[in-house]
Amino acid sequence: MTELLQQLVNGLSLGAIYALIALGYTMVYGVLRFINFAHSDVFMVGAFAGYYLGRELPSETFGGGLLALAGAMVACAALGVLIEKLAYRPLRGRSTLSVLITAIGVSLLLQNLGQRLFGANPRSFPQLFPRHDFRFDGLVISSAQLAVFVITLVLMFALRWIVMKTRIGMAMRALSFNPVAASLVGVSNDFVISCTFALGSALAGAGGILYALNYPSIDPLMGTLPGLKAFVAAVLGGIGNIPGAAAGGLLLGLIETVVVALGGSTYRDAVAFGVLILILLLRPGGLLGRVQTEKV
C-alpha cells in the first residue's frame, strides 16, 4: 500500500512538471495552430536561469527559492515573446509547415547557444528550497516534490483565472476560435499572441526549475526529452485544450512511474511515445479534445 502511494506521489510530481510544460504547447497551438518545438528549450533556459539566480540568492530558503522561480519565469516569458517576434511573426500567414520547421531551427539554435554559453557539461542544480523529507508511515515526500505540487497547483489556478476571468484571457479564447472575428472586435492579434507566448513560456520556466529541483543535474540538452513527453501529454489531453494538457501531463507521469515500478524502466520512454501513437490511432482529438460543431 505504502509502495503504491509512494509511486503515486512520484508519478504525480513528474506528471505535474509535464503538465506545466504541456500547457505552453497547448496554448501556443490554440492561438497559432502549430507546435512550438522550441518550447522544450525555453524549459531548459528556465532551469539555467534558476541555476544562476540560485547562486546569487540565499539557498535553501523559501524567499530565495520563490525569487529564483519568479526570476526564471520572467526571463522565460521574455525569451518566449522574443522568439515569437523574431522567428514566428515574420511567417504569419505562411504555411504552418514553414513555422514548424522554423520552430525546430529555433530549438537547435537555443540548444547550441546554451552549449556555447553554459558549457556542455552537466551542472548540479542548487537546492533552492529548504530541504526536508516528510515521512508518513513509510511514505516519503521530499520538499522538492512538495514544491512541485504546491507551485503547480498555484500556477494552474492562476492560469485558469487569467484565461477564464480576465480581458486578455477572453481575447485569447476568442482569438483561438476565430482570429478574424477577434480582430473585428478590436483585438490586436499580435499583442494577444505575445501574451500567450509570455504565459506559456513562464510556465515552462517554472517547469524547468521544478524539474531541476527533483533531477538536479542540468545541461543545455536537458529540455529535449521532457519537452517531447510534455508534447505527448498535450496531445494525450487534446491539443489546444488547457485542462486537457494538465490532465494529460498528470496521466503521463503516472503511466511512466507505473512502468518503472513494474520493473520496465528501460521501456519508460518507449511507453510514453507508445501512448502518443495509441492516442493518435484511437482518439486523435485527445482525451478531452473538443468536438467542434459549427452551425452554418
Binding site: 480582430s183 473585428l184 472586435v185 490586436s188 452551425k295
Partner: protein
C-alpha cells in the same frame, strides 16, 4: 461618411474588385447587391481592414483608413458584422458581447451598452450564460449584431444578415436593423442576397457585378429598374 474611391483588391493573381467607388452618407442605410462572387463581401472586408487594398482609397469620417489594421478600424467606430456571423462559439453569449466591448475600458459605458443591446435583443439576455455555439442561426445573427453594437460604432457594415436564417426571423432582424439605424443614428452599409428586403429598408443602392459597380440609384428606383428586377428581384 464612408467613401470608397476607385478601389481595387486582388486575392493573389485574381482581381476581385476593379475600381469600385461608393459613398454612404451619414445616417443612411445603403445597400450593395449583386450575385455570388460579385465582390460584395470583399468590398466590406477591404473597408474593415481584413484584406489589403491594391489601389484606390477608403475614407471614413474624413480620414483615410486603407492601410490601417482591422483592430484599429474598429476603434474608429466602423464595425463589421461578417458573413457567416463568426460568433465565438466557444464563449458564452455574455462573453461574446463583452468581447464586442473589448476596446472600451469604462465599465459603466459597457454596462449601459449591454443594457441597450439586451433591450434590442431580449433573447440574448435570456441566453446570456449559454455557450454561443448552441444558439440557433437567427440567435447567432442577433449576437453578431449585438457584439458589433457593443463597440459603440458610428457605422455598421453587415454582410448577409439574412443568410441561413428562418424566414420569420429575417423579418425581425431587418426590423431591428432599421430600428438601430433610426434610434441610435448608426449609419449602415448592407450587403444582402435578399435584394428586395434590403432595398426596402435602404435609401440608396449599388449593384455590383464581377468586381465593378454597374448600377447605382435611389433604392426605390432600383426596385423598379427592369434589369435589377430581372437579375436580383426574381422578375
Amino acid at each position: 461618411m464612408l467613401e470608397l474611391r476607385d478601389l481595387s483588391v486582388a486575392y493573389g493573381a485574381i482581381r476581385a474588385l476593379h475600381g469600385v467607388s461608393l459613398s454612404v452618407p451619414e445616417g443612411s442605410i445603403v445597400t450593395l447587391i449583386g450575385s455570388n462572387g460579385a465582390g460584395k463581401s470583399t468590398t466590406l472586408r477591404a473597408a474593415s481592414g481584413l484584406v489589403k487594398v491594391q489601389s484606390g482609397s477608403i475614407h471614413f469620417a474624413g480620414e483615410r483608413i486603407d492601410g490601417c489594421a482591422a483592430h484599429q478600424i474598429v476603434a474608429r467606430g466602423l464595425a463589421h458584422v461578417p458573413e457567416g456571423r463568426m460568433v465565438f462559439a466557444n464563449l458564452t453569449v455574455l462573453e461574446n458581447l463583452m468581447m464586442g466591448a473589448y476596446l472600451q475600458r469604462d465599465r459603466a459605458v459597457v454596462r449601459r451598452e449591454l443594457d441597450l443591446v439586451y433591450a434590442t435583443f431580449p433573447r440574448l439576455q435570456e441566453r446570456a450564460e449559454q455557450v454561443a455555439g448552441t444558439l440557433s442561426g437567427g440567435e447567432q445573427q442577433m449576437l453578431a449584431i449585438g457584439r458589433a453594437l457593443m463597440s459603440r460604432p458610428r457605422f455598421l457594415m453587415m454582410d448577409e444578415p439574412s443568410l441561413g436564417i428562418a424566414p420569420l426571423l429575417v423579418k425581425t432582424i431587418f426590423e431591428k436593423i432599421v430600428a438601430i439605424n433610426r434610434t441610435q443614428g448608426i449609419t449602415m452599409l448592407l450587403v444582402e442576397q435578399n435584394a428586395n428586403l434590403a432595398l426596402e429598408v435602404s435609401s440608396f443602392g449599388y449593384v455590383l457585378e464581377t468586381g465593378r459597380i454597374i448600377l447605382q440609384d435611389e433604392a426605390a428606383k432600383l426596385r423598379q429598374d427592369p434589369q435589377v428586377r430581372r437579375a436580383y428581384l426574381g422578375g
